[in-house]
């Protein structure tokens, strides 16, 4: 009786998932395995994939670099917040969250305004006599956009892990002869590993599939897999190839989260996607 009821409760969600996730996924799968012109079954799309491997590699590289930079920038911040008074922690936590309250598109466009050739930074550089330099449409600008947008996703899980480390473990390490650097290396860092992996996943997954950041801040040589998929679908070039790339991207994300979850231990650190 009770069991039947709980099944009933989950029916709306199951219907939703079937209608808007499972069926579209099947459609994507269908497109991936059919010819764009004839609609007949074919593996040509998968064969053509090879051409786009460099783009895929570039996407992964940019995302990993961004995740690494986020970790380097975010860890000290998370550590700092975790060691404030409870009231201060709440305030700082809110400040980290604050940019996320603003539209992602708007924030990226703001960087365009800052970085473009006639933008604020270049105008300033000209004014102080250095002269204009190429800022926008560079790989650096794309990475900057990613780091800027996804940094909170790194800080929050790191903070959540660090704040839970029992202070007596730190005292125990000091008691056993560790100076503060050794205490960090031997106790704090290993215990924050779940947070690190969680943070990397939270940054990597949206970064690897983004297209907006690279379109607005990148140049012709910084095309990412997200851009490619968008172009293949929207400009009507080849939705079938786009479908294959989508599936590849999905597999990539699943594999990455799988690895990260395994490495980060299956405790809380686990990512909510």
């Amino acid at each position: 009786m009770g069991k039947n009821k709980s099944v009933l409760l989950s029916v709306p969600y199951i219907l939703w998932m079937v209608a808007f996730t499972l069926i579209p996924l099947c459609v994507v799968g269908y497109y991936a395995l059919t010819d764009p012109d004839t609609g007949a079954f074919t593996l040509d799309n998968i064969r053509d994939l090879g051409m786009y491997l460099p783009v895929l590699g570039q996407s992964v590289m940019y995302s990993l670099i961004s995740a690494a930079l986020c970790l380097l920038l975010g860890y000290p911040v998370a550590y700092y917040i975790a060691h404030r008074t409870p009231v201060m922690q709440k305030i700082l936590y809110m400040l980290v969250m604050l940019p996320m309250c603003m539209s992602f598109l708007l924030r990226t466009l703001a960087w365009v305004g800052l970085l473009q050739d006639t933008g604020i930074i270049n105008n300033f550089l000209e004014w102080i006599g250095i002269g204009r330099i190429q800022l926008i449409r560079t790989p650096g600008a794309v990475v900057l956009g990613m780091v800027y947008n996804y940094l909170p996703y790194m800080i929050l899980p790191l903070y959540a892990t660090l704040v839970k480390i029992d202070n007596r473990l730190i005292e125990a390490a000091e008691d056993l002869g560790c100076n503060s650097l050794q205490t960090f290396g031997k106790v704090v860092l290993p215990l924050s590993v779940p947070g690190i992996f969680s943070g990397i996943t939270m940054v990597f997954v949206p970064a690897v599939s983004t297209f907006y950041i690279s379109q607005k801040l990148g140049g012709t040589d910084t095309v990412l897999i997200g851009d490619l998929i968008e172009r293949l679908f929207k400009q009507g070039d080849n939705p079938n190839l786009g479908a294959v790339l989508s599936l590849v991207l999905m597999a990539l994300v699943l594999i990455c989260t799988g690895i990260m979850n395994r490495l980060g231990g299956d405790e809380e650190g686990g990512v909510i996607l």
Binding site: E171, D175, C178
Partner: protein
């Protein structure tokens, strides 16, 4: 007597203007087992944390082996701590937890192996080296924590209520174990507990603390037999504490009767607190008694009965192996050595009255009891 190792001089500690420690003066000898005993909030853990280096005193000095170590950080002190609830490293197994200090000290690999394995034997955990610490029972975790501290061969081991989380049976075993380890290694133990029985059975010296001050320092027997004030008398064991007047040396008057006692050195007619331990009281026939009272309550305790006896409106706790029903009239006799005299203190009148034991009697409970919780 072995030489002095640690001295605390006029130690004062304040948190947010609240005085936690108020002028602690104490010395700890080498090879000694010293216990800081007191109720929660008495400052015993704070004192321990100051010795460990985790807190810097607001005023006063900590002297270790003749040198002031106020400014020396914990990792440079020849002191190790067994923390309350163990604080084992969850990311390391048993062996690596114990080896932690030796690895930090960059000892050679073979030496680490040999010393850790030896320690595992000392704490009866041979073969547990590769176990995950979270898979161990409370008692086993406790022993890992002790091994992790002892393996570094510190001059002093600080133990902060190390047995607090264990059940009674395990506590007793671990008490014996700790005492054995202390005697075998000769390391100075500074032990914090609120359990008076634990303190009395393990220590060479007991320091009774309350409200940030030391109430009494002494050997367990002295603390029990010659408590300095009503707080100590009440905290260590059970005590009936009465108002008395010291008429002259060896003569004390209470309940309108003069008794012979073994104490001297008070002013003539000085008001004093009189302590009578429940187990020292002899029950006799009412006709032969110094005092005659009525039994108002009885509780079976296993080894003995705790009976509450009313004498002229004041209730005493008496421990006896004989059964006396409620309502029975009994007499008691007090030998001179059963009567302990204490000077009046700020604690006078706060302890040592057993009226609250009885449900139907509440006239005296007003001033009794408040100080107890």
């Amino acid at each position: 007597m072995s030489k002095e190792l640690i001295r605390l001089r006029d130690l004062t500690m304040e948190f947010d203007g609240e005085r936690i420690l108020d002028g602690i003066n104490l010395y700890i000898n080498d090879h000694e087992f010293l216990t800081l005993l007191g109720p929660s909030g008495c400052g015993k853990t704070t004192t321990l944390r100051i010795i460990g280096g985790f807190l810097t005193p607001t005023a006063g000095t900590v002297i270790f082996d003749g040198e002031c170590i106020n400014e020396v950080p914990p990792y440079k002190r020849q002191i190790n701590t067994v923390f309350q609830r163990y604080a084992l490293f969850p990311h390391l197994n048993v062996f690596d937890n114990i080896a932690f200090g030796l690895r930090v000290a960059k000892k050679p690999k073979e030496e680490i192996e040999q010393r850790v394995n030896h320690m595992l034997e000392v704490v009866s955990l041979k073969g547990y080296g590769h176990r995950n610490v979270s898979s161990l029972s409370g008692g086993q975790q406790q022993r890992v924590a002790i091994a992790r501290a002892l393996v570094n061969e510190p001059k002093v081991l600080l133990l902060d209520e190390p047995l607090g989380a264990l059940d009674l049976r395990l506590r007793k075993d671990m008490q014996n174990e700790l005492k054995r380890i202390q005697q075998a290694t000769g390391i100075t133990f500074v032990y914090v507990t609120h359990d008076q029985e634990e303190a009395l059975s393990m220590s060479d010296t007991v320091v009774v603390m309350d409200k940030g001050r030391i109430q009494q320092i002494g050997k367990p027997e002295d603390i029990y037999n010659e408590p300095k004030n009503a707080f100590v008398a009440d905290f260590i064991g059970e005590s009936n504490i009465l108002d008395g007047i010291m008429l002259a040396d060896y003569k004390v008057k209470f309940f309108g009767r003069t008794f012979t006692c073994v104490d001297a050195g008070f002013e003539p007619n000085e008001p004093v607190d009189v302590v009578i331990r429940p187990e020292d009281i002899d029950i006799v026939d009412p006709k032969e008694g110094h005092l005659v009272g009525t039994v108002t309550g009885i509780t079976f305790k296993g080894l003995n009965y705790d009976i509450i006896v009313e004498f002229k409106g004041f209730k005493w706790l008496i421990q006896t192996t004989d059964f006396h029903p409620v309502g029975a009239e009994i007499g008691i006799r007090l030998n001179p050595e059963d009567i302990h005299i204490m000077q009046k203190s700020e604690y006078s009148g706060m302890f040592g009255d057993y009226s609250s034991y009885s449900a139907e009697y509440d006239e005296l409970t007003e001033d009794a009891g408040d100080g107890e919780e």
